[in-house]
Each structure stands twice: as C-alpha cells, then as structure tokens.
Amino acid sequence: MNALTMPVPDLSAYRADFPILSETVRGKALVFLDSAASAQKPNQVIDAMTHAMRHQYANVHRGLHWMSERTSDAYEGVRDKVAALLNASSRDEIVFTGSSTNAINLVAHSYGSLLRPGQAVLVSEMEHHANIVPWQMLRDRSGIALRVAKVTDAGEIDLDSLRAELADGKVGLVSVTHMSNVLGTITPAAEIAAIAHAAGAKVMFDGSQAAVHQPVDVQALDADFYVFTGHKLYGPTGIGVLWARRAILEAMPPFLGGGDMIGSVSFERSLWAEVPHKFEAGTPAIIETIGLGAAIDYVSAIGLDAIRAHESDLTGYALERLQAIEGLTVMGHARARGGVISFSIAGAHAHDIATLLDQNGIAVRAGAHCAEPLMKRFGLTSTARASFALYTTRTEIDVLAETLDRVRSFLV
C-alpha cells in the first residue's frame, strides 16, 4: 500500500511533540502554515541536540579520546540514516552541507568545473532562486549556457520543452525541483531522469520540499544528484545533504579546502580525503547533524507514506475550502501536488492578506517565494502561500478559510 491508496492516517497525536504549536501569537492560538519555509521542531530533535551538547560532544574525526570517538560515531551514524532515507547504494554517497543551497553551489562549483564552454545546464521555470543563481554564476565564469524548460499553465514542467532543450546533446546537467515551493507541483522525476539520460545529461533534483512530504528513492528515480535540507524536515537549520553517485563524486574536484577534506598536506601539494569527506572541509555542523538524524528517525517512525497521505488529504480539503472563497485564485493546478498552495485574492495584495492573517495568529508566507521567474511566468508579483506539515490539521484549514473570507470582505 502506498500513500495514494492508504487510508488517511490520524497524525493529530504527533502535534504534542511540537512545543511551539501551543504558543499564542497576538493573543490567538498559533496556526502555523509556513512549514515550506521552515518546519517546526519536535521534542525528539530538540532533545537530541541538547543531549549532545550536555552529555556527548567533542570535535569529530580528530580526537583519540572517548568523547570524540563517541561523537564521531553519532555524527557518522546520521550518514547511515540519510543513506537509508534516500535508499542510496552507499553511505559514502552522502555529503553533509550547510543547506540545499550550499549543496547546489557545491555541485555548481565542483561538477560545474567539469563542464566545458559550449555545454549547458538546463533548469525549469519553476525553480527556487537557489537552483537558478548558482548556475548563472557558473555561466558567467565558465562560459557554459543556461537553458530553461517551460512550465505549463497548469504549473507542470513542460516535458516537450525539456526534450527540445536537450535535443542537441549539449546539456551536461539537468537540475530541476522535485517539488515546487510555490505551486506544490511534484515533478515526474523518474521520467525527467530518463529523458535527461537519453540525451546524455546528468540529472539533479532539488528535493528541499519533496523529501519532506514523501518517500524518496534515488535509485528508483535513477537520479545522479539529489539535495535536501534539514530544517524543512523538522530538523535544525545549518545542515543539508548532497547525495550523488559515488563515481561522480570521485570524479569531482573538491569545493572548499580545509581540515577534514584532506589526505595529507604539504606546501608543495595536498592530497584529498576519500569521498564523501573530500567535500566536507572544516569542522562540520556536528550538533545540527545529530539533530537531522533525530528528525529522520522521527519521520521514519511515523512513515513518509503516512505523512504524504495526511498532507494529500489536507491539500485536497484546503483546495476545496479556499477555492470556494469569492475572488480567490489558486496558482497552478498540477495533477501531482504536495501540501503547498499559493493563492491570490482579486483586489487584495498578498502582504495585506498575510498581515491580516497574522493578526489572527495565522502564519503564511507572502511575496515572490524566492521564485521571481515563476511569478513572472504567471504574470504575478506576489502571492500568499499556505503550506502544510505532518502537524497541520483540518481545523487549521477551516480557521484559514474562515479568516480569509473575512480578510476579503475587509479589504475588497
């Protein structure tokens, strides 16, 4: 049974794990609908991090003492958890980075240095700025081209456009999102990987949103690179992940130089550590990595299939409730979508909507969502965005819908 066929699970008991959800904002119960920007943290993550700082902390990979060895074990144990989460074929394919953004920049610098002028990187119109700007910077310093696959009016990647951009065989890397942070669209990653590979290109998926809302199997997707970040997966900020095939990582030059990424150093020449350490210069985010491990344990215990089923139910319900509001338009209507809904209300600016929702304790995001080209594609400058998590309830959707109705009456 998968998320699409399983009955809707009741995840309401898990709300108690998130202490912040019992806070009030402006005298109202917090209704947190901005998890796509950053998710709240369960006690399990908070406790794991404070436990490490209180009882088991030293630098990793260096010390010959008990504390360092135990901390190294805890830190490296998270690499195994991430490998299992993504179904990577080896733990050595997991590179810890500071964030998804850092991971993409790592690939743009390192793998990007292997691309030659005349080659191209292909992204889509629905990318977060983090999957556009690093490639523009690469283009400007190395002479590669940056190509863009179109997005349909429904908010899906236009696969004909993708194929057309790949047709001349010059694209070295396709880098697209696995789930849009604006539209909620879940992209057909396996199909995109097959199309990319048939044209001789490698493929990277930005899983910042997708890895939070559904199980990810990098081998089943036949991906070459996959990135995600800890803070959207109920973990801390400051820790992200790059997964890449071992052979690719081995062919890539290091990104940052420093401690931990070296085999030996002399003034004449340095040798690099084996992957993945070759890409992990400096003392890593030890506490945050341990927090990420706790977050992975947490979502794994609930089950990402169950989380997806829960959010899928909520999204369907929210679409129904929101679209019943006069003048409200939902941006995009992809067939496969996760718990992110961007919307506008005729005659009401997104920032006014967000401020008035905030007055009622409801946190949503408003603006261009770090995706200006996508907003332009849809002829918009800003939208409001509600995003859901495992702790979101139907009651919160009701509060959102009822308040939006009042906001509309107030402003329009």
Partner: protein, 150 residues
C-alpha cells in the same frame, strides 16, 4: 476583522487604498521619480508640479502595491501639497518618527502636523511593513530633489 487589524488598517487607509484621490500623473511635471521594493514587487511613480512660489502645487502617484503602500502614497500626496522643501522635509521626518516609535514618540505639535498621516500610527509595531509606507516618500523626496529618503 479584529481590533488590532482595524487599528493598522484604519478606515481611512482602506478607503484610500480602494479609491485613491491623488492617483495619476501630473502633466508637464517639474519632478518625477520611482520607488520600488524588489521584495514584493511594489512600485510607485510620483510626479509633481511646483507653483510660482516653488511650493508643491500638485502631487500625483501611480502605485502598484499593497493597501498600506497605496494609502500612504495618497495621503502623502494630500499632506505634502502646498509645502515648500523645508516643510516637506519636516513632514517626512515626523512621519519617519511616527513609523519608528508610534504616537508615543511624538510631541503634540508633531501629531497635529502629521494630520491624516496619523492613520499609520500603529505601523511601528509591524517592522516588516514599514517599507510599504515609506516607499512613496522615497519617490516623492527624489522627485522633489531634496536628497533625502533613500
């Protein structure tokens, strides 16, 4: 809505956002400037005409933005008309103080001078929205060539 919402979005603000009285463009303007906020895409185009005494005789704005931004542009145009450059500068500094500290930071004289602009008195509690109200002012001050407001 709620009491706090009605404090922030006072009737005058909502009314001017819906139906601004000073929207448009001054023909044969003596000064013009734009303001834009890349974070939200809001844009204001201000044009002005000076009278024979060089006072601001007419101010118009073309604003694409939120309710706070449109209302601020409109009430700014109304409040600044008739002022000379020194008066405009003084009004801007009072408005800036209102947005920073609220009414508590103002003297009685300041409150009286701000007039309609007191409608934004509660905005100081919403730091992320202050720029919405100051955007039209940066355009007006640039159009007037005062060298302030950027």
């Amino acid at each position: 809505m709620s009491e706090t919402a009605e404090n922030l979005y006072r009737a005058l603000v909502v009314e001017r956002a819906r139906r601004p009285l000073h929207a448009g463009e001054v023909e044969a303007a003596d000064g013009a400037a734009d303001g834009s906020n890349p974070l939200c895409g809001d844009r204001v185009h201000v044009t002005l005409r000076r009278g024979d005494d060089s006072r601001l005789a007419e101010i118009r704005h073309a604003t694409r933005g939120c309710a706070i931004c449109i209302a601020s542009a409109d009430l700014m145009a109304e409040s600044a008309t008739g002022l000379d450059d020194a008066g405009l500068s003084a009004l801007w500094h009072r408005f800036e103080a209102l947005l920073r500290d609220g009414e508590a930071g103002l003297g009685r004289e300041d409150g009286a001078a701000l007039g309609l602009l007191n409608a934004f008195a509660d905005l100081h509690e919403y730091r992320s929205r202050r720029k919405c109200a100051t955007l039209p002012w940066s355009a007006l001050l640039a159009a007037a060539g005062t060298g302030e407001g950027s």
